[in-house]
Structures are given as C-alpha cells and as structure tokens.
Symmetry: C2
Subunit: 366 residues, 2 copies
C-alpha cells in the first residue's frame, strides 16, 4: 500500500522581507485577549447582530490604538463583496485638453454626490487614447470592476451596454437614452423648461412665437420642441408646424428676410434651441441684429439652454440653464440606488429659468 506523500504547503510565498507589515486584526485580537472575530465585530459597528460588552470594546479599541491598526481595504471589500467603487466611463478623454468640451461641470456633481455617499470613483481611461483598454469588442468589460458604472457622452456602443444591463450590472447613462430597453438614465427636463420659457413669453403678452431649431432628431431637440408646443397650447397660442422652423443646409437658412417676414406676420418672440455649436442661437441673434431689431423692445428672444461661450458676454439671453452638477449628482444617486437594489431614483432634473434681458413685454399691437 502506498503511503500518501506528504505534501508541502503550497500557496503564498512569504512576505517580501524588509517591508514592515502592518498589524492585522489577529494581532489586535491577541493583544486584547479576544478572537479576531470579536475585533471585526467591534470595528464593524454593525447595527444588528452580536452584542459586545463595553469592557471588551474598550480593550479592543485600546489595542487598535496601541498597534496603530488600519484595516486593509482590499480585504474588507473582498469579504464584503462590494468595493465602494463607482465607475465613470467616457468615450472621449475625461480630461480633454480643450476644457470647453469637457465633462467638468458634470464631474463636479458626480464627485460631490459620490463622496457624500461614501463611494470612490474609478475613471476608466484610455477610451480614446488607445491605451491599455482601447477599443475592441470588450472595451467595456473593465467597468465591471466597480459596483456600477456611469456613462458619459452619446457614444457608448449599444451592444456592449445592452450586455452589461442584461447581466444585471448597474449602469446609468448621463443623458436620455430611451432606445435601449432597460438602460437607466438621467437627463434634464427640457420639456418643462421649454414650456416655462414659452409661458414666460406668453405672460409678457407675446401672441405669436416661433421656435428655431436644427434639423436632427436628438432627444434633446425633440424634447425642446415638444415643450415649446405644449407651452403654446397651454397659453392658447397658435402652434402647429408654422410655429417651428427647422433650419437645414443649405436651402432653409435663417435669413434676415425670413425674420422680417415673420415680424410682418405679427411674430413678436423667437426661441432658439441650444445645440453643441450654438448655431441656432447665433443665427437668430445675428439675423435680429442685422434686421436692426432693438431687443427686447421690438421683439423678444429666448434661448432654450445656455449660449455658446463666444456669445456669453452679450446681454444674457432669457431662457434656462442646464444644471450640470445636479445632473451629475442625480446620476450618482440613481447609480447608488441600482447598486444597493433600492427603488430607482428620479431620472429627470429640472432646469432653472434664467430671466435674462432679451425678453420683454410684447410691443403694442397697431
């Protein structure tokens, strides 16, 4: 009969010498004369479960102080099956050289809210730079290392996102994204905000209002139009296709003649949507200036969003501001809710009305 060979102990190599290892819970336990589990219980401070006598607690805490014990976060997280990490993934560099186009305003809110909830953030880099985790079909695989992940920008590939969602991985998209079944998102409430701007104009006596928008189908655009029309309807003003102008290259441009035509037809207020480029507002603003309109005496202008940086110095446009930090915070709240399995939070964030100085009472009818 063969005797089983004695096996040596495989596994960990001894800790590299020279490196002072920090004290473990076991050492604390030894010094305090209790078990490691007791140390964990004392430090964990769980609301329910085992009770610890005051004396034992003090002995343990004394030992902790005496040894300068610091918990190993890797071990805690491994044992607790969470790591308190929220991912942030963007397909352009998170910190672009051109600050103008960055996600900075969002990140302000993301950081604050994450901190308030005790999460740290993992920034997944190399999405654009071709670094380690460059493109490839599994570019998004890495995000699973966090408890959940926030996606910035509209370029997140649907297929991969769907995959994450299907696996039950908590994902939140910053910006509305309806086409992807089950994808959580947070976005600004453009509908209500646009409606409010129209209501403001209506209250100032304007009876004919035109929306100038670009010719795309982004949710951000259609929402604004939706809210605009809703605002007209609620004020009892004429809506319909005539109230909306979709500029399209090159035939349908917002020219000075067109603007004059509207004025002749009795239009007294114009609303432009905000776009990446700010072109709608720029065109409207430019045409009004060209025609010689004294704004807001002759006619009122409003902008559904913020002006492009180069027009920021002009008189502040009446309209609304997109609360980007709050959006970031709301995204984190939703993600945190998903991670902890709570009910999903509110996806819509209200925009704040900006009085501005480009809207005034409607000119007297003659």
């Amino acid at each position: 009969m063969e005797e089983p060979r004695k096996r040596a102990r495989p596994g960990r190599a001894p800790a590299p010498a020279g490196r002072t290892s920090r004290p473990r819970q076991a050492e604390v336990a030894r010094l305090a004369g209790v078990s490691q589990a007791t140390v964990s219980l004392v430090l964990g401070a769980r609301k329910q479960g085992a009770t610890i006598s005051e004396e034992t607690r003090r002995k343990v805490l004394d030992a902790v102080r005496a040894l300068g014990y610091v918990p190993d976060p890797a071990a805690s997280r491994l044992a607790a099956a969470r790591n308190n990490l929220l991912g942030v993934f963007s397909f352009t560099s998170t910190f672009p050289t051109d600050v103008q186009h960055s996600y900075y305003p969002f990140l302000v809110g993301v950081e604050q809210e994450a901190a308030a909830r005790g999460y740290d953030l993992v920034l997944f880099t190399g999405s654009s730079t071709g670094g380690a985790g460059a493109a490839g079909p599994n570019a998004l695989a890495r995000v699973r290392l966090a408890d959940g992940c926030l996606f910035l920008g509209r370029h997140a590939p649907a297929e991969e996102l769907r995959r994450l969602v299907a696996d039950g991985f908590p994902v939140v998209h910053l910006g509305r994204r309806d086409e992807l079944e089950g994808l959580a998102w947070v976005g600004a409430d453009y509908i209500s905000a646009s409606q409010e701007v129209v209501a403001h104009l209506a209250a100032l006596g304007h009876r004919r209002i035109v929306l100038v928008r670009e010719d795309d189908e982004a949710p951000a655009s259609t929402d604004r139009e939706h809210g605009f029309l809703k605002g007209l309807e609620e004020a009892g003003l004429p809506g319909g296709p005539a109230a909306v102008f979709r500029s399209a290259d090159p035939e349908r441009q917002l020219t000075a003649e067109r603007l004059r035509g509207w004025l002749d037809e009795g239009v007294t207020a114009f609303v432009a949507e905000e776009t990446d480029t700010g072109d709608a507002w720029r065109a409207l603003h430019g045409a009004a200036h060209f025609v010689g309109i004294d704004c807001p005496r002759d006619a009122s202008l409003a902008l559904l969003g913020s002006p492009p940086p180069d027009l920021a110095e002009e008189p502040v446009p009446t309209g609304f501001d997109i609360p980007r930090p709050q959006l970031g915070a709301a995204a984190v709240r939703m993600l945190a809710a998903l991670v902890s399995g709570e009910e999903a939070a509110e996806p819509l964030v209200a925009c704040t009305f900006r009085p501005g100085s480009t809207a005034g009472p409607a000119p007297a009818r003659y």
Copy 2:
C-alpha cells in the same frame, strides 16, 4: 465518548438572488474545461513559471471573452498582486466649483499618462466634503486599495503619509516635499527656469536686476530665489541680499517710491515670483505703471511663472510656464516606477521659457 456535533457551515451568506453576479475565474475555468489555477496563469501572463499550451490559452481567453470576465481588484490586491489601479487623492475637492483653483491641468497629464501605461485611476473622494472617508486619523487608509497613490496639494497630513511610505506603499506627491524622508515627489524645476530668465535678461544687457518675492519659505519661493541668484552669479552680475526684495505686510511694500529708488540706482530689470494670488506680479506691474515706465523701453519686467487670470490679457509677461500636464504625467511615471519596483524616474520637470513682451534690451546707460 462524545461524538463531535456536526457543525453547519458558517461564513458567507449566499449571494443575493436575482442579481447575476459577475463571472469568476472558476466559471471561466469550467467553461474552458480547465482548472481555476490555469485561468489565473493564463491571465497573469507571468514571465516565468508554468508554461501553458497555445490551445489551452486560447480556450481560456475565449471563455474570458464569452463571459465578460474581469478580475476583482480587491481579490487581486489581497492575493498580493497588482490591480492596475492608481489612486489620486487630493485634500480639496478634485473638481472644485471654482475651476480656477482646480487640479484640472495636472489631471489632463495624469489621465493621459495613466492611460498610456494601462492604468485606470481611482479618485478618492470625500476628503473635503465630509463624506464617507472624511477626515479622521485613517482618512488615507482607503488608498491602499490601489497599487499606489498620487497626492495633490500641500495639505496631505505628514503623519499619515509617513505611515504609508513606511509600509512600503508607493506614494508620489505632486509638488516638492523634502521634509518628509523617503517621500517621492515630482516638481517643476524652478531653479533652472528662473536662472534661464535671468540669463535672458542679462543677454539683453541688463546689469542690475531685482527680484520681488513674498515673505514665505515655500520651496517654490526659495527655489526661484535660488535660481535667480544663480543666474546673476553666472552672468557676473551683483547678487546678494540687495538684489532680492521680500515684501512683507505692512511695513515693506513694493511702493512706487521704492521702484523709483531702484531705477535711480541703475536697476533696469525686475523679476517677480508667481504666487497663488499673483500679488508679487500685480504689485510690480502696478508700481511700474504708476511710475509711468514704458515697458520694455525704460525697464524690463519678468515673471517667474504664469500671470494671474485677471492679468492674462495684458502684454504677455516674459518668464516661464509651468508645464502642468507634463508634471501630472511625470508624477504618474514615477508612481508607475515605484509600483513596479523599477528605478525611480526623474522628479524634476523643466519649465518652458516664455519670451513674452515685457523684456527688451536694457536702456542705454547715460
């Protein structure tokens, strides 16, 4: 004889139902028809040790892709390996509302370099916001989750940093920090840059140059003075205490009279250090303007750094720029070196000379 009671299995509760947990190496192994150890070996890609057949490797990698496996950073870290995560810790909010004071320019470089090297970044939040990882004596414990950590800002508490360093945890401080034995740091080479500015002025024929600085002992200040004096010496110009003016509230201010006095003594060029507030440059600039100096005809000015934002529109000051993104990148390089145990990288980053328009040939002697 008492039979030992059969113990139930304590330990982990079963994973919460409903939520599909991420795949583990064990699942990958099952799908690939190999052992968990083999999966680890394939993924670990350690240079030495076991060899893996090409076929097995492919099977494993296929399974990894199929399941979307991603290693758990806490587990890798606990098992004494790396997790490809670099920490970034700042004691003020990383994304402050006031963009002016942010670390943004550094982060640009940090992100790029980290991406290029295949690291993701963990932003440790809550240092200022009083969130989960708020102050307390162990605010820094969390950073141990990452392979190493970058510290921004001068407020990192020495005691805790010392502790991390003593434990052999890779730490890099952005900004010179000599007082802490063994702390790695990267910083701008103010000495060489300041010296270069003086050399430039000397080459323009200036023979008497005065440095205006504030009265503190920050390394950034003393380095500039050091470089300034070195530059004078190298050009064979008079140095000594007379060449340096330390403004101090409220007695010693840079007044117009004082400036006139220097001019009368034959000083033709003035150099200010950059400070947080930009006060040195503002005072120098203001006094020169008040006295009616036509710069650079009557006298030359130079700034050891960048002007404060409110003076950015003025004629560009001759001086140097602090390459913040490069500093961030250098910090990451150093941290990566520490993490992988390589030789430490270069701690000093060169500043770039900025010709500007406030320095010209010395006025003719009369």
